[in-house]
Symmetry: C2
Subunit: 369 residues, 2 copies
């Protein structure tokens, strides 16, 4: 399933590079509330994982999932999966506010957990998750898809690692998304205590990218704000939010997220990342090169001391995260992503949401010029 | 003089649309410290103004100016110009901290003043300028060139006015600039009390665009920060700054300015403006369409309910500001720009600078992922 009109169901397929053989690393999918579960399972199965089970209380969701993954067996209950010693990792895309509870059950059952972002919605959940990691030694990994499942974003990480822009100092990220037909969205999408607020939800992608590209271990949310500008009939939907973060190494980020992608855009969002370094800068046009009509994606622009370089990397980079995650689970390493990193992004996106000021349009002073 | 490698000497030439006949509106140029004086005089003479006098204590600067404007006479002193009753408007591009003083003398002499941005560097100067406007009824107008002298920016204003993106709610602006060879810059460029700090100096362009595009009459700088990341040998040069503003109508802005344009970029800065509305968005690529190598500029991308629209408007829009300013001076109207607007942008850029937190790189935690 790959639907470019709708980010919720955007599930990239990469070039398969398997790190394990059939049956060597067995996974399951529990809770299919968000379409990201497809991308998560694509990534892992392409890297060699064997998807044994699926479970969701909604049989319709299970049947649809089985169309994409015909080998997977429908479990009768979550317990059946948690009690299966063959299953090493459980993937989940529950309602955001329930992702932590699911993870706690998964880890308590002795399995690693891989959840859709945002991985949780409150600082209390974060404490519980950290405690469970300490107790069990299991992983609570997160599908921050806008970096790990976007070839342009992966390539940017490689460029920065090579020093292509000197020392990164600042990132600007835009994460526009399309609501689409609100009727096609589940109710929880519009309930803030369930989806967590825009800075927690889609903001988590942005903050994770800041930590990653700028080499930040800890950061402060120095400013954040949210608004409901367009979707007045859904007052709990923040359709806009932005924030400024300062990293412990002195780097800074501003990001903007919104649910305002116009119908005329040929994909679900014109996601961009601009990474400014001391010796150059990178721009990512992740899902579209707007206005060109060429239906391409994964554009990377690098400007350095020597010139302007343009790479179109679709199909050329792959998604190393998934194979690394499988090997991390097997070898108890942290090459795909450290637990500290996954939790720090979660913490900061909850904090950004908690401290956000609420904005709304008042009068518009048209004659101000 | 049009030098695309160097923003300081970037002086656009537009298609002439004259609003007055030769000799009907006489202007002079005083203080040639910043190359913007060329763009200012281009704009006004193309609109019909007659450039009678030039004065600067540096004869070399005057001789260079006369090469671009062969009709202009070199005055022996500033007084000679201020005492000439034919002169209606004096253009100045003094050292930033001296722009207000010059303006006060010009207005006291009964003439309108048109200064390069930033128009002043302190709130005390702003008070003096406002007082002089009250006393004399003369104008203290400002060359916010990154909007009024950029066809893409002018066109964006027309699109917004037509409602192309619904109600604007948020703007992101990037104003990257190139230092070039620091030796070629005057000393004052690196002295903060003279150039005013980056948020005051090149930040003023950004704030003016926010007020204009979002129809904002007053705003609060809710966050700002500056840094000296690369040009350590010039510790008073902020080579980075960004800020968040909230308008009185609930709209918001984030902008970033910097002096970090890499040598490899084929123009002086990859200036962008992203205007997000309830029904669509606009992206401006003002000076370059990076990575295309096609040497074009003034790209406007509009995405609305119907599709993605791309306009390349170089030579197609012109710069109506200059003709409007001439007519405003003659008719005592405010069509080009209100005094309130010019001063509000000045006030906010000074405030953004005053309250900015200073950032610097410390350690870089490379293993944070």
């Amino acid at each position: 399933m790959e639907d470019k009109k709708d980010g919720m169901n955007y599930a990239p397929k990469g070039k398969p590079v398997t790190v394990v053989k059939e049956g060597e690393f067995i996974i399951a999918a529990v809770a299919l509330d968000h379409g990201h579960i497809y991308g998560m399972c694509n990534g892992l199965t392409e890297a060699g994982a064997t998807l044994k089970w699926v479970y969701d209380p909604d049989n319709e969701k299970v049947r649809r999932f089985q169309k994409s993954f015909p080998e997977v067996m429908a479990a009768e209950s979550e317990e059946q999966i948690l009690n299966d010693p063959e299953v090493k990792l459980v993937c989940g895309a529950a309602v955001t506010s329930l992702r932590c509870e699911l993870g706690l059950r998964v880890m308590a059952a002795g399995k690693d957990y891989f959840t859709d972002k945002a991985p949780l919605t409150t600082l209390e959940q974060l404490d519980q998750a950290k405690e469970m990691v300490r107790k069990t030694g299991k992983k609570y990994m997160v599908y921050y898809s806008e970096r790990i499942h976007v070839e342009a974003a992966v390539f940017a990480g490689e460029l920065i690692e090579k020093g292509a822009i000197g020392t990164p100092i600042h990132i600007d990220g835009f994460g526009p998304h399309r609501v689409g037909n609100p009727e096609s969205r589940p109710d929880w999408f519009f309930e803030k205590d369930k989806y967590g607020g825009i800075l927690c939800d889609i903001g988590s992608h942005q903050i994770e990218q800041f930590l990653y590209y700028c080499g930040v271990r800890d950061a402060t949310v120095t400013y954040s704000q949210i608004g409901n500008y367009k979707y007045k009939e859904y007052p709990e939907l923040d359709d806009f939010g932005d924030a400024v973060l300062v990293g412990d190494n002195g780097t800074t980020q501003h990001f903007r997220v919104d649910w305002l992608t116009p119908d005329g855009l040929s994909t679900w969002g014109d996601g961009r990342t601009f990474i400014l370094g001391t010796e150059g800068y990178i721009e990512l046009r992740k899902y579209i090169n707007v206005g060109t009509g060429d239906n391409t994606s994964n554009h990377v622009y690098l400007v350095d001391g020597n010139g302007e370089h343009h790479f179109e990397v679709s199909g050329k980079v792959g998604y190393p995260f998934f194979g690394e995650l499988i090997l991390d689970c097997i070898n108890r390493t942290e090459n795909a992503m450290t637990q500290e990193h996954a939790f720090k992004a979660a913490e900061l996106c909850v904090k950004a949401q908690l401290q956000a000021k609420t904005r709304s349009l008042t009068k518009v002073s048209k004659d101000a010029t």
